[in-house]
Amino acid sequence: MSHESSPEAPPSAWQSILGGLKHSPLILPLVGLIAVSTVMAFASDNFFSVDNIVNVLRQQSIIGILAIGMTFVILTGGIDLSVGAVMALCGTLGAGVMVNMGMPGVAGLLAMIVVGVLFGVFNGVLVAWGQMPAIIVTLATMLIARGFGLVYSGGYPISGVPGWVSWFGVGRIAGVPVPIIIMVLLYAAAWVLLQRTSFGRHVYAIGGNETAANLSGVNTKRVKLYVFMISGFTSAMAAIVLTGRLMSGQPGAGVAFELDAIAMVVLGGAAISGGRGLIIGTLIGAVLLGIINNGLNLMGINPYLQDVIKGFIILLAIYIGREWR
């Protein structure tokens, strides 16, 4: 985690963000970000416009939000493959509440959060108390969430949500798109949780050495439950933005989003085995992946080839970052 230099004063937020950067695990993701941006800027004229930067951030906001919950789970040494499916389920049921049940939009949004958090509880209980490996549990719950959403909607998108919901997808505050604001606020909250509360310490501790954390009196089961609940919550927040953007509940949305979210977390410098990683790193990872997608699109690269290039960039990033983790 933090590698501050001064032995006396407790390292301040600034120090851990800027001062310690030289020894920070963030250095590589940042270098990657700068390198890729430079390449893209040369390759495409449109890349370095304010408009396009905003565009990239807005596009990444949905998966970027999913990646927050994924970061918590991965820091404890787990993984959550269900995020994309849970997002789709939240969006579908929430839209169902608004449209089919005729409840007010606010009820629909609340329903999304409730569904997401409950699904997180389901995952968390199975992993923590059921003592089953997270990868298998969330693989199964991914199927369940996806299937549920489709059963509920019969495969149809659910459209007809109240117009003001689109604010979450396309609105702006002081010129900044709302999805970006939501994403940034959530990242800030996650930073506080991870770096400034004992819960955050426990998340890192479990990923570092679960037995030891347990012996030290950390309630490891509860912490694991909470990280999955957080992941369910961020899936719901992503669903709100998605619903605002698509103005409908899409039971089939978010296929393979979990893979992109995992990629963001590891591009951001976190160890997939848990215990090491910073939430700011994930944000950088999200932007990095967004820039890669956007840049390749702007350059007009064959979309199939884009996947190949993306794969190689991920490999390269992880390879270079290997020793730092």
Binding site: S44, N46, S49, D51, N52, N55, R58, Q59, I62, L150, G154, G155, Y156, P157, S159, G169, V170, L242, R245, L246, M247, S248, Q250, P251, G252, A253, G254, V255, N293, N294, N297, L298, G300, P303
Partner: protein
Amino acid sequence: QDDGPLKIGMTFQEMNNPYFVSMQEALNEAAAQLGAEVVVTDAGHDVAKQISDVEDMLQQGIDILLVNPTDSAGIETAVRMAKDAGAIVVAVDANANGPVDSFVGSKNRDAGYQSCKYLAEALGGEGEVAILDGIPVVPILERVEGCKAALEEAEGITLVDTQNGRQDRSVALGVVENMIQSHPDLAGIFSVNDGGAMGALAAIQGSGKDIKLTSVDGAPEAVEAIAKGTAFIETTAQFPRDQVRIGLAMALAKHWGAQVVPAEVPIDVKVVDAENAEGFSW
């Protein structure tokens, strides 16, 4: 197989799409009137799974197989197996290789042609246009082909970009946003289906630009958007329910002993725009 009621099996390439869901509904209604049993499977765009699905349905002793193939070539094994098992096989929406008894599908090339002709005219025969492509199966490829033919005819129109939105609303949204970024003068977009078009519409509205959008399908949401007078100006409607009804009719004719049924039944498509959107439905 004259024991018990008639058994109809239908395998869909995907069911996460209103187009196919409405086909299934039409099938269920028709079968209820006939007193027939229906089995439906969803291949999720996976041909190998589609073959397995057909195998499973054959185990249940279906008399009629309606196949909506994920891939025309890949499905051939399943068609042959079904024929060997004595079932009547009719391809719906997209054709299948192998000895199918009949194929019922839209005039996809026409659909693409008409949408893009409409687009070109709406733009006054002038400006930059992009195509939002989809999953490469024959019907989609035909639509793109038809579209390109229409665009060629308009002198002042240039096709500046083709990207793949995978017929998915959320994917299309991101792709079109990038399209708009890289082509500031973009004036029109043709999407190969309404799913992608809905994503494209969100992107256009988000950009605040004046870009016109046309598409193919006639899905309820698309029709609604067109009726409202948005950037989405036209969709060339197909008739999924009718495709199934006619496909089933071909199969029944065969079942009842007809020696010849048409090898191919092309179903007309219809331009739906602001004029006639009110009141149109599949």
